[in-house]
Amino acid sequence: MQASPPAPSSAPPVDTVERAASTPDEAQPHAALGLRDEEYARIRDILGRRPTEAELAMYSVMWSEHCSYKSSKVHLRRFGETTTEAMRARLLAGIGENAGVVDVGDGWAVTFKIESHNHPSYVEPHQGAATGVGGIVRDIMAMGARPVAVMDGLRVGPLDAPDTARVLPGVVSGVGFYGNCLGLPNIGGEVVFDPTYAGNPLVNALCVGVLRHEDLHLAFASGTGNKIVLFGARTGLDGIGGVSVLASETFDAADPTQAPSRKKLPSVQVGDPFAEKVLIECCLELFGGGLVVGIQDLGGAGLSCATSELASAGDGGMHIDLDAVPLRAADMTAAEILSSESQERMCAVVTPENVDAFMAVCRRWDVTATVIGEVTDGDRLRITHQGATVVDVPPRTVAHDGPVYERPYARPAWQDTLQADSVAGRPRPSTPGEIAEQVRALVASPALASRAWVTEQYDRYVRGNTTSATPADAGVVRVDEESGRGVAVAIDANGRFCQLDPRAGAQLALAESVRNVASSGAVPVAVTDCLNFGSPEDPAVMWQFAEAVAGLADGCAALGLPVTGGNVSFYNQTGSTAILPTPVVGVLGILDDVTRAVPHGLGPEGHAVWLLGE
């Protein structure tokens, strides 16, 4: 409570570039925003002054672990280094784009990617999982593709842990709610139980999209005078929890009545799959009409990410006017608008002569669309709010030139003990009674029980192209109805193997996923991965990570399969206990004709059963 009443409400001064230049010593809460002192100093260096509030918001979120890959970058390079030209032969787009795109023949291409939404799914399981599906689907849309299927890899605590009863049903209903309502068949996934996931479930969602080669769209803004259009949902105060430290500083003083609710902003986003379904159809009509030069989805880091990435991938500068952004809440600051993670939004670059046609398509689908800026000469990203310049930065410094850490890593001391603890000395069942008992225990174990409770909540029929979903080794969808051309996808990981040996464990995950795709009759052609680990600040975790990446990269090279994209999720831990190292590997395979896919399960009576391998 404030002792004296505030002065009659006057809006806090907008922190413009001018003001920042003239108040170099104003204290800024960079640490509360997750920026280290040297990172903050680097921003001041880049800009030659202190950042404005809005710039600070942008840098802090774009330089976060989630967006900048600052701890993982040095290791992920390995994927690039081990990928040969021959492995790249089928790739129309690879790592670095929203999602990798693979040529699957006959002029068709397929894009696929897996992403995590772990932490939000613990806070609010239903909405967290739902918006996780929504996010990966928009990544796929941003490539110019029609999303055609989803998969979900779920990891939670033991079945009888109290939180599991809250988290698992919520996550499953969220995945189903969003995917079903979008009309995307769910073609497979995993449900894994382990105590290390009890306070930190893993929700990894994969989406597959299909496009013709000529429809490939990349995220870049070029062509001076081209318009930047924001379309989809309005921008609200969702998911800006972090940035509210900025708001609280200025708003506390100006209007204490407003501060409490602002400060406690939930970082939870609510998904609106209906809005996203309409957005998909709207985007496809826009692509079909040739109305889009470049496109970018809005996910984590919202407009900060979309504008800086579009601008730095293009060949000019960009001007954005935040006053044009349709808002859902009153009095949002520039920092809040830029950081909002409101769902179901996309950002497109459109030539001036196509703007009217673009708007007409959006109106037909009842999608709000607004020109919020344009591509400019020069190389600066300039953002104005209430008539004043609040951001003026080289976009690459925000989007790509973030910090890179060589975090220390070391094989943990307990690794030897863990590996030495083999089953060799353990008693084994020998009598028929003991064996029967063990079989019963296995069958009854949650690890092996039927997944029907989960999969019955997911639509697998919609669009009429699913030729294999649960139960199956891999999900199979038909891409072309005429020729029967299709793709098979599987996702796999075994955290316990990875705990024992992260390098071999990652390779086993890859091998299992490849086997699952191959045993559906498809030829494996590409890999996506979702690397879920504990804190990168823990050298043992960092070692697991480095080993797993190296193992996966070498495994992919040995099999001749390129990694086309993926996602890193760090800080998955409860207190100081990290989750099992969990590199989830997704593999995509091609079938020339889905009618010749190998069905799951035993065939008709009289067929022989063969065991291949040792």
């Binding site: 009309g183 799959p273 809005a275 009842d366 029929y461 919609v462 009429g464 038909r478």
Partner: protein
């Protein structure tokens, strides 16, 4: 060739499947748009499944009041064959073309599984089947529990307007295991399960669902 309209509302999902089923049956699918009160001279209409308007408010409530539904209700009352599948069934009930309502599944969860249905009435959409025949099609819905007051249910049964019944206890708790019903003249039919997902053994449980589409085609060509 008979022309069968397939309506797309914002949030409709199974329009591609319904159009494919129409094509497989040998008719020409005609895309109809929710905002356009023009049936383009079609001979019959399919209101497909999905989540029109996100199922917000009540499933089918908002779609039932769209421009295209005016002429659909009018034509349906005048005897044009109309089929509502899943969300389409919900829309036909909300539009007053069929009695009763569809509410949340009694288990409170979305249910996607193959179900057995017994065909119990000879209608414009079931004449390719014999009464009593059992077919297998997918069911996938969260608000598929058919309800109506007892008098309405009694009347439906007495008038032979229960077209499909689940062969096992209804997975959604539908009263009297009702999966689909018809108008008094047997030309407007609504059902929760998805015949359009059972037209090819490659992508569905079999081809039983095709029977609904060949039925109406027979009816249309016989009338012509």
């Amino acid at each position: 060739m008979s022309r069968i309209g397939v309506i797309t509302f914002p949030g409709t999902l199974d329009d591609v499947d319904a159009a494919r089923a129409v094509r497989y049956a040998g008719a020409e699918p005609v895309a109809l748009w929710h905002d356009d009160a023009d049936l383009q001279g079609v001979d019959a209409v399919v209101v497909p499944g999905g989540f029109s308007y996100g199922d917000y408010l009540r499933a089918g409530a908002i779609a039932a009041r769209s421009p295209v539904m005016g002429p659909v209700v009018e034509a349906g009352r005048a005897g044009m064959p109309v089929l509502g599948i899943c969300n389409g069934f919900q829309i036909l009930c909300e539009a007053g073309l069929l009695p009763g309502a569809l509410v949340r599944n009694h288990g409170l969860r979305f249910v996607c599984r193959e179900v057995g249905l017994r065909v119990e009435a000879d209608t414009a959409w079931t004449s390719s089947f014999t009464v009593g025949q059992e077919i297998r099609v997918p069911l996938k819905s969260g608000e598929g529990r058919y309800v109506a007051d007892a008098a309405t249910l009694d009347a439906l049964e007495a008038e032979g307007r229960v077209v499909f019944r689940y062969t096992e206890p209804a997975p959604n708790g539908a009263l009297r295991d009702i999966a689909g019903i018809s108008s008094a003249d047997g030309r407007v039919v609504g059902l929760m399960p998805h015949p359009e997902h059972a037209i090819d053994a490659l992508t569905g449980p079999g081809t039983d669902g095709l029977g609904l589409f060949t039925s109406v085609l027979r009816r249309l060509t016989a009338a012509a």
